[in-house]
Symmetry: D3
Amino acid sequence: MVDVGGKEVNEREAVAYGEVKCGRAYLDAVKEGSVKKGHVVEVARLAGMMGAKETGRLVPLCHVLPLDCVEVTIEILDDRFSITAKAKACAKTGVEMEAMTAVMIAGLTIYDMGKAIDREMVIGEVKLLEKRGGKSGEYLREDK
Amino acid sequence: MVDVGGKEVNEREAVAYGEVKCGRAYLDAVKEGSVKKGHVVEVARLAGMMGAKETGRLVPLCHVLPLDCVEVTIEILDDRFSITAKAKACAKTGVEMEAMTAVMIAGLTIYDMGKAIDREMVIGEVKLLEKRGGKSGEYLREDK
Amino acid sequence: MVDVGGKEVNEREAVAYGEVKCGRAYLDAVKEGSVKKGHVVEVARLAGMMGAKETGRLVPLCHVLPLDCVEVTIEILDDRFSITAKAKACAKTGVEMEAMTAVMIAGLTIYDMGKAIDREMVIGEVKLLEKRGGKSGEYLREDK
Amino acid sequence: MVDVGGKEVNEREAVAYGEVKCGRAYLDAVKEGSVKKGHVVEVARLAGMMGAKETGRLVPLCHVLPLDCVEVTIEILDDRFSITAKAKACAKTGVEMEAMTAVMIAGLTIYDMGKAIDREMVIGEVKLLEKRGGKSGEYLREDK
Amino acid sequence: MVDVGGKEVNEREAVAYGEVKCGRAYLDAVKEGSVKKGHVVEVARLAGMMGAKETGRLVPLCHVLPLDCVEVTIEILDDRFSITAKAKACAKTGVEMEAMTAVMIAGLTIYDMGKAIDREMVIGEVKLLEKRGGKSGEYLREDK
Amino acid sequence: MVDVGGKEVNEREAVAYGEVKCGRAYLDAVKEGSVKKGHVVEVARLAGMMGAKETGRLVPLCHVLPLDCVEVTIEILDDRFSITAKAKACAKTGVEMEAMTAVMIAGLTIYDMGKAIDREMVIGEVKLLEKRGGKSGEYLREDK
């Protein structure tokens, strides 16, 4: 665990992205609301948000940060779900891992709720899109 | 949460896969053991294994299963880390989510430990490779 | 913690009930889907279900039980939300506490999501309705 | 999760109340110290306090707050236990949910420890009594 | 995590021991019930029991076991607290770690509640006393 | 839970120590890297660090503190492992318990990974070595 004792508290923000690639059967079922396990988008969104709060306990070297906000947005595209998560905190270190974890747990939840329909799903493209705050300043991914 | 009350307990096994694509700088640092945050492969392996035990609490509709074994293997390839996780349990439902979660948390940990070196990393190709046990029988992914 | 080592494993089921009494403003907002914090019924249902899985860690003398199923149903009545939770497990001891905890956490979530609209809400009538399995046999509350 | 990033940190306090209605048998057993499962009031008090620390993980849209203090007081009345919980924090958002959760988990624990004696218990009247700090200022429930 | 998939489920029991060495001031305060933080023995007993349920999450390579019983006994001796914990489960692997963890968390709690009175306390002699069940059979420590 | 609402936030640091006494067989196996369960020192170090983050949830009356840093150092001596843990936070109360918990969980992990080789191990001498910050000022143990 990096010692952040000497670092300043300032506003941190991070946006992460990921996707769940899958067949039409599952995507259609979600759109029609016919997935037996429930409202996939709503459940995954919530799981992602709750997952972000667990980041510091799941990722060994992460500090536990006091999140000001986590937002998870899920879109249904033609051949995949896209997941975007934003995390914010006033902290001594960045919230990238919180945003990444939110995306991951949302992705896992989408997978779990649809695996009876489509076992071939692939979770991927999980990456950091943006980051603000802290000494290293702003970061904007170029190949978004 | 699907009611598994009427299902039989039998041996379940699942293997999941995923990868962290990254540049040479981080891979070389890991091979040389020069990453400041510690032994990346060992920490990620452990985080994946511990993460698998949290599956039922992270993924809302998952049952909490009594895992008999979780194994996480991480390889350093030319342009990525490959992560394979196997989960086993005697249970009424499958352990795919446990294997998937192990891969995910291992991937997040690799990302976390190297993000000071390489911010462009992408976690992806997270998918189920194999599954055994239960009424649906054996599954072997074809496009491994 | 009562020693259940000598007890038989058998099918257990419990149904608990509770309600959140509140004004029309919040109930109407929920029906119209205009609550800023999201889909109250869906979020509370999920929180209840996930909360049930934490029972053994929250209630000191409870055993941790392998839940086969948790179902939470929330209805919007004229002056209150009614919450019903069913828990099932094959276990050496009953699942009353899991059903009760599900109701409680669902109730807390309903409260949390509406407290900006209505601070006067009261969570109450949390009680066991039914119980099956185990040496003490079936229980059906009379004053449901 | 409401974005509290722009809000000021200030002292927050909340008091919640609840009760467990039950028959004389259990109340007498508690007073005599003859409940097999242990010291009901002490265990429930502790469970409530520890439960308050879990609030942000149990209630999906709650922020995790750095509690300065949680106090749980339990009284044995003629036909019920009364539970009062006070929570305090220096935070950007209120601690109502922490106080409410403390009451709830204390109530569940009282129920759990006595359910072998009295299955008819009802947990109820869980509500916010007081709240201080934050933009909305002081709140004092009138129908205490 | 050792693969216990092929092992038989049978009754397991383990007893662990530990102590907190301290000065008279704290021991006397506990006996008189004058410790500000509360009933030390009762709180520590409970913390130990609850801690045992967390073993599989705290100790990386431990399996999560379905505990049938945890008992923690604390005695006040002339110059120390002695802590004994017994854990039981029907499982494929032993419950030594659960008993050891119970002792440890009880010890930490005793330390925490008295550290304002006595900073010199030492927690020690934490060891396994007995173990039953499983292929390796019975174990009884000789130098108890 | 002591009310720390009125206390100042300042830099806190604590160092705790502990050891696992054991036979040569286990120590040698660790040095040779032949312990089946993995890299004992690395796993224990990580478990201690992660355990420190759980302190506020394990020790009932502890506040949950925002740790700036946890460092666990493990040395292999002739007849024992020595464990030193340092914790740091900017907080209203000290981090002794975090340092102590880190030592304890590291000790439990060392025990767990070697118990198939040596059942006689004893975890002991767990104590506070140093403490800085807060009204009570600096503390340095004399009989280190």
